[in-house]
């Protein structure tokens, strides 16, 4: 419990910063939504002028872009992108922060097991992420209601927004696994930015190519927003895939951390 609280406190500042950033993206984009929906025919023409591959890469579907949910899901892709960076940062710093600052000795010479340490740390970042999500959902929902022209499907709005949490948990797991495999990472941010942007670009390519198989290796494609809007449900196979990936990454991380990692700096 003490490790959990200590960790939670150490993430306080960054959680606040990230939460504000994520909310800001949505707020700013939704503020321009009224002018978007007001001139829907012209906007559609502008987007039609773009090559189709560009539209696909940026996830723009002309039919949906002027509806609130269509517009929101387009904006939301960038919220997920930022959220993924936050989550990957947190995940990566679980082990590497202590190793880099050489504070691992402090914790590991205390009467706590390594399992307790890593569990407390993971729970602390999950809590931070959860707080970020709750605040984000509230802010985004209020904003959507303020900017709407006509009623929108609240259930679908939340279904889209919840994918932020799913994606963040996946990236936490990827981050933790990275940090136990490479515990001496000097710069967390470069590793997490690299990974997240790499996968994001893979997502853009996948969109252009349109090949179904590529979706399995690009997490940003696990939730297809047009599909959610159209069907009002998630694609079960991708949810299962995601859960499997998270479980494997976490189990591997525990095993490596408890059995293998050696803390030696001298």
């Amino acid at each position: 419990m003490n490790v959990y609280l200590h960790e939670l406190r150490s993430y306080k500042k960054s959680t606040i910063t990230w939460t504000i950033s994520l909310c800001a993206i949505t707020v700013i984009f939704l503020l321009i939504y009224p002018s978007f929906s007001g001139n829907s025919e012209e906007i559609k023409k502008i987007f039609e002028a773009y090559p189709e591959s560009v539209r696909k890469a940026f996830g723009i579907s002309i039919d949906g872009i002027t509806s609130l949910l269509g517009f929101y899901s387009y904006v939301f892709l960038y919220v997920v992108l930022c959220g993924a960076i936050q989550a990957m940062n947190y995940g990566t710093s679980v082990i590497s922060k202590e190793t880099r600052d050489k504070t691992a000795d402090f914790l590991l010479t205390k009467p706590v097991s390594r399992i307790q340490i890593i569990t407390s740390k993971i729970l602390a970042i999950l809590t931070s992420i959860l707080i970020t999500n709750i605040i984000y959902l509230i802010v985004a929902f209020i904003m959507a209601n303020l900017m709407k022209k006509e009623a929108f499907n609240v259930k679908i709005f939340f279904m889209i927004s919840f994918t932020l949490l799913f994606m963040q948990i996946l990236f936490i797991a990827i981050g933790i696994l990275t940090s136990v495999i490479l515990p001496k990472i000097k710069s967390v941010i470069s590793v997490s930015l690299g990974t997240v942007f790499g996968l994001f670009i893979a997502n853009m390519c996948a969109s252009v190519i349109g090949e179904e198989a590529i979706r399995y290796i690009t997490p940003f494609k696990y939730f297809d927003f047009p599909y959610i809007i159209k069907n009002g449900s998630y694609e079960v196979r991708f949810i299962i895939l995601q859960i499997v990936l998270i479980v494997i990454a976490l189990i591997a991380s525990y095993v490596i951390y408890v059995k293998k990692i050696q803390f030696n700096f001298y």
Partner: protein, 296 residues
């Protein structure tokens, strides 16, 4: 009873050497010195005891329990002071100490304030703003605040000024009187000599010897220094038991181990104007151990 029992402990880092076949015991209530030059394997041994690293082969027991298997339990009664102190920089000293205390199921508040006043440590500063020596003090308080039964010190005095070293040693001696066992690793022999009952000497990952400090010093070593009227032929002193033979003008000095009578008879054959016979300090014996090992 043995507080620490190390049996054939070996640790390799990939292909490079860590420690090889290290065995020694530390008895309850003693201050045990662990000396050797930098890189000899002192920290590796200690870090294995604390299961920060895992042994390649061999084992170690603390309080009669395997130090890897029962690591969590064993650590309840261990206080550890690392040679280099790193703590969470943006915390205040008092917050760090309270965090540290929160791992032990007892109230350590009073003890924290006692230790801080003994060591003259400002509790309200941020760790980040502390000098190296002051960080070391935080380490000392942090290692002692839960009144451990075994204190493990890894080169504890680096960074402390002589006055603080003195206070720190007094603190340790007080703890020792209460029955606390201390493992004291150092490369500074004079402090080991001052503090310890027994000592293990480690070199290149292997234990060279485990001896009582008193035996080490006895060992019949004498330091001879004599002033002669004329230069003495070097061959004259070329007998068994003479080490570290040095000549500086008319002053000859050497270490002697053996029957005092033999050397006195020899000395009586030359013209001496002055003579000093002293107990050598540990440093000299220690260097001697090393040199001897080198020849083999």
């Amino acid at each position: 009873m043995n507080i620490i029992e190390i049996k054939n402990l070996t640790k390799n880092y990939g292909k490079s050497r860590g420690i090889t076949d290290v065995s020694f015991n530390v008895e309850e209530g003693e201050i045990f010195g662990f000396i050797g030059p930098n890189g000899a394997g002192k920290s590796t041994t200690i870090r294995t005891l604390l299961s920060l690293i895992y042994p390649t082969s061999g084992s170690a027991q603390i309080f009669g329990k395997d130090c890897v298997k029962y690591s969590t339990e064993v650590k309840k009664e261990i206080g550890y002071l690392p040679s280099e102190v790193f703590y969470y920089d943006n915390m205040k000293v008092i917050d760090l100490l309270k965090y540290s205390a929160s791992f032990y199921k007892k109230d350590c508040t009073k003890r924290i304030y006692e230790l801080a006043s003994t060591m003259d440590l400002d509790l309200n500063k941020k760790i980040d703003d502390l000098s190296f020596g002051n960080k070391k003090k935080v380490g000392i308080v942090q290692g002692l605040l839960h009144e451990p039964k075994l204190i493990i010190l890894d080169e504890p005095t680096s960074g402390l000024d002589p006055l603080m070293q003195q206070k720190f040693f007094e603190l340790l001696k007080e703890e020792n009187k209460k029955g606390v066992t201390i493992l004291f690793s150092s490369h500074i022999l004079s402090e080991v000599q001052k503090m310890c009952d027994r000592v293990a000497i480690i070199k290149e990952g292997r234990i060279v010897t485990v001896e009582k400090i008193s035996t080490l010093k006895e060992n019949n070593f004498k330091r001879f220094k004599l002033e002669t009227t004329s230069t003495v032929n070097k061959e004259f002193f070329d007998t068994d038991g003479i080490n570290k033979y040095e000549v500086e003008g008319n002053i000859i000095s050497f270490l002697f181990k053996g029957k005092i009578n033999t050397i006195m008879k020899k000395l009586s054959q030359i013209e001496i104007t002055n003579i000093w016979i002293e107990e050598p300090d540990l440093e000299e014996i220690f260097m001697h151990y090393y040199e001897k090992e080198d020849k083999i």
